[in-house]
């Protein structure tokens, strides 16, 4: 079910693009861009909902409720729900698009893994995923997985003569772009390292998530690392055109308000 609805179509789409461009890395870039564009309406909805929630946290009435019922969690929850209703904000509205996107993104990720077949069993699975009559395995395979100094099927390292070790350029780019994509959407009040718990959690996520993604990019095939980079870049672009981005968060020690506000609320 999962295979036939998600992974197989993705693999066939990716390889169809590959059959047009003749390079797996270029196909991954186009494929990732296309799928992210298709998911854009959901992403936009999610961004807008989360921004509405952020705005709510600055609402005078909201702050009063927090203060008034800080020792009565049950009442606090009730009052918050009333306020949500009154202002027409749903705390779950930002979760739903994410939940819908999540299986698609996981499927995308699995399709990429299965496409970069570098062992007999992987190749067997890949051949079985191809729609008969749509793509011909013998014409497509072996895939051209070379891109610049990288092999999309292997972890990426840039070898510089005399250095003695390879530099994981793509993993570094993944860390940087993940950091930027998470940091620029965090309101300065949270990014600035406030004392409240949510600020602390946001700051931890901003540090650990790029490191996790970097570690994955360092250990997994460069095709996946490239996917992470393209996804991050598109995400940054989407945030920039959809809502508020806090570029000031990227400057060390800067705790300024939003530098750019391009969102239409």
């Amino acid at each position: 079910m999962w295979d036939s609805l998600i992974i197989t179509p993705f693999i066939n789409l990716l390889l169809w693009i590959y059959s047009l461009v003749g390079n797996l890395a270029v196909a991954i870039i186009i494929f990732t861009t296309l799928t992210r564009l298709l998911l854009y309406p959901l992403t936009a909805k999610q961004i807008k909902s989360s921004q509405a929630m952020q705005e709510l946290q600055k609402n005078k009435k909201y702050l009063e409720i927090q203060e008034k019922y800080k020792n009565d969690k049950e009442r606090l929850a009730q009052e918050q729900m009333s306020l949500y209703k009154e202002l027409g904000v749903s705390p779950f509205a930002s979760c739903l698009p994410t939940l819908i996107q999540f299986p698609i993104i996981i499927g995308l990720y699995q399709a990429l893994i299965q496409t970069v077949a570098s062992a007999p069993m992987d190749l067997l699975n890949l051949v079985r995923h191809l729609y008969p009559g749509f793509l011909k395995a013998s014409a497509l395979l072996p895939l051209n997985t070379s891109f610049l100094w990288m092999d999309m099927g292997q972890p990426e390292r840039l070898i510089i003569p005399g250095l003695g070790f390879g530099i994981p350029v793509l993993a570094i780019v993944v860390v940087i772009t993940t950091y930027i994509s998470t940091k620029i959407i965090t309101p300065p009040a949270q990014a600035g390292g406030g004392n409240d718990q949510s600020a602390m959690m946001t700051n931890m996520m901003n540090i650990y998530m790029p490191l996790l993604m970097g570690w994955l990019a360092w250990t997994l095939s460069s095709g996946l690392a490239l996917y992470f980079v393209v996804t991050n870049l598109i995400q940054i672009f989407q945030y920039a055109i959809t809502g508020k981005v806090y570029w000031g968060n990227l400057l060390p020690g800067k705790k300024a308000p939003a530098i750019k506000q391009s969102g239409k609320k």
């Binding site: 570098s118 062992a119 067997l124 699975n125 013998s138 292997q154 996790l212 997994l220």
Partner: protein, 353 residues
């Protein structure tokens, strides 16, 4: 505050595990290879290479002493005198003592995976690699020559003692001088070559199948095509040659019986499950394994002699040596079985993975 921090770290760790588990298939998905001498059987088993006694299946040794997930063994080992030569997925080719499993030397020149066994001929080790190179080493592991193709070499080459014939995923079969690795000829066969090729008894003809559902006979002197036969499925393994007939398994679940002379199909034996591993000649019979876990023994004319059903899938090459049929299973209850020629189980062996 500490509890919240704990949950954040836990969430990120779980996310890492989820994403990594999505990819674990990439790192470990393949079937293991096997080879045998009269007294022992040697097989790859994921993180180890195992030597077991041929008559009992008892372990003689395992290599390396400390298995590591960074070193995965799927390629079949090769026997070179008192050495076992085996490559791993990290690109390391090692020599191990036949008797004690101790490492003699390492060859670190390759950058890709070793998918199948190296060829041992004339005191030389011809190791094909997924980095698109073929490396020729002496018995001490010193590089004699290397040849760069355009894409991965997976299957073990064959040789008549003067020429090495190497199938490649780039659709071509390469003929190289054994002594210096110079290219004699190469021929594009229209599809990736995954399985091994086989030389005829007089070394005049090469038989090889492609992932384009084509099986071919080539003139070994110049690579010209003698004949080709289009089959129902893709060919993932070497044919079995018995007298004037070829037996070729394909992924549509057919064992094709062809005439050696012209490739015409004598019979298509439908086993209803993909046949991906090499078959073997077993006395006057032919034996294949299929994906649903069945061992199928056929007489020369295609009549079924016996079958056995195992749990797991039979993708690996079958070996018949010294009256023992060795069968490696993939995802089976036991990874390795030994049968006699009549289908009686001699031993089954469980190795902790």
């Amino acid at each position: 505050m500490k509890i919240k921090r704990f949950y954040v770290v836990l969430f990120i760790l779980l996310l890492g595990i989820l994403l990594t588990s999505c990819t674990s298939a990439t790192a470990t998905n393949s079937w293991e290879g096997i080879t045998a001498s009269d007294t022992a059987v040697y097989f790859a088993n994921g993180t180890t290479v195992v030597a077991a006694k041929a008559d009992t299946g008892n372990v003689i040794w395992t290599y390396p002493e400390k298995p590591a997930s960074s070193r995965l063994f799927y390629a079949a080992p090769a026997i070179a005198g008192d050495q076992i030569i085996v490559g791993d997925y990290s690109g390391l080719l090692v020599s191990i003592g036949v008797e004690d499993g101790k490492e003699h030397w390492q060859f670190t020149g390759a950058k890709g995976r070793y998918i199948d066994a190296p060829l041992v001929i004339n005191d030389m080790i011809i190791a094909q690699n997924a980095d698109a190179n073929i490396y020729a080493l002496n018995s001490n592991g010193k590089l004699i020559w290397s040849f760069k193709g355009s894409h991965a070499f997976w299957a073990t080459p064959v040789s008549d003692g003067t020429t090495v014939y190497a199938p490649s995923l780039d659709h071509s079969l390469y003929a190289l001088n054994l002594s210096d690795g110079k290219l004699k000829w190469k021929v594009d066969l229209g599809g990736p070559l995954i399985g091994r090729s086989v030389l005829s008894a007089d070394n005049s003809t090469l038989f090889v199948g492609t992932l384009d559902k084509t099986f071919l006979a080539l003139n070994s002197t110049d690579g010209s095509i003698k004949w080709k036969s289009t089959l129902k499925g893709n060919i993932w393994s070497a044919p079995v040659v018995l007298e004037d007939r070829l037996y070729v398994g394909d992924d549509s679940g057919i064992i094709n019986m062809l005439k050696v002379s012209d490739g015409s199909v004598i019979q298509s034996i439908d086993v209803q499950s993909p046949v991906l591993g090499n078959g073997a000649v077993m006395n006057s019979n032919i034996v294949f394994g299929d994906e649903k876990g069945e061992i199928i023994v056929l007489g020369k004319n295609g009549e079924r002699s016996w079958t056995r059903s195992l749990t797991g899938k039979l993708y690996s090459n079958l070996i018949f040596s010294n009256d023992h049929l060795y069968v490696l299973t993939t995802k089976g209850d036991k990874p390795l079985f030994a049968y006699d020629a009549n289908g009686n189980e001699i031993w089954g062996y469980t190795v902790s993975k």
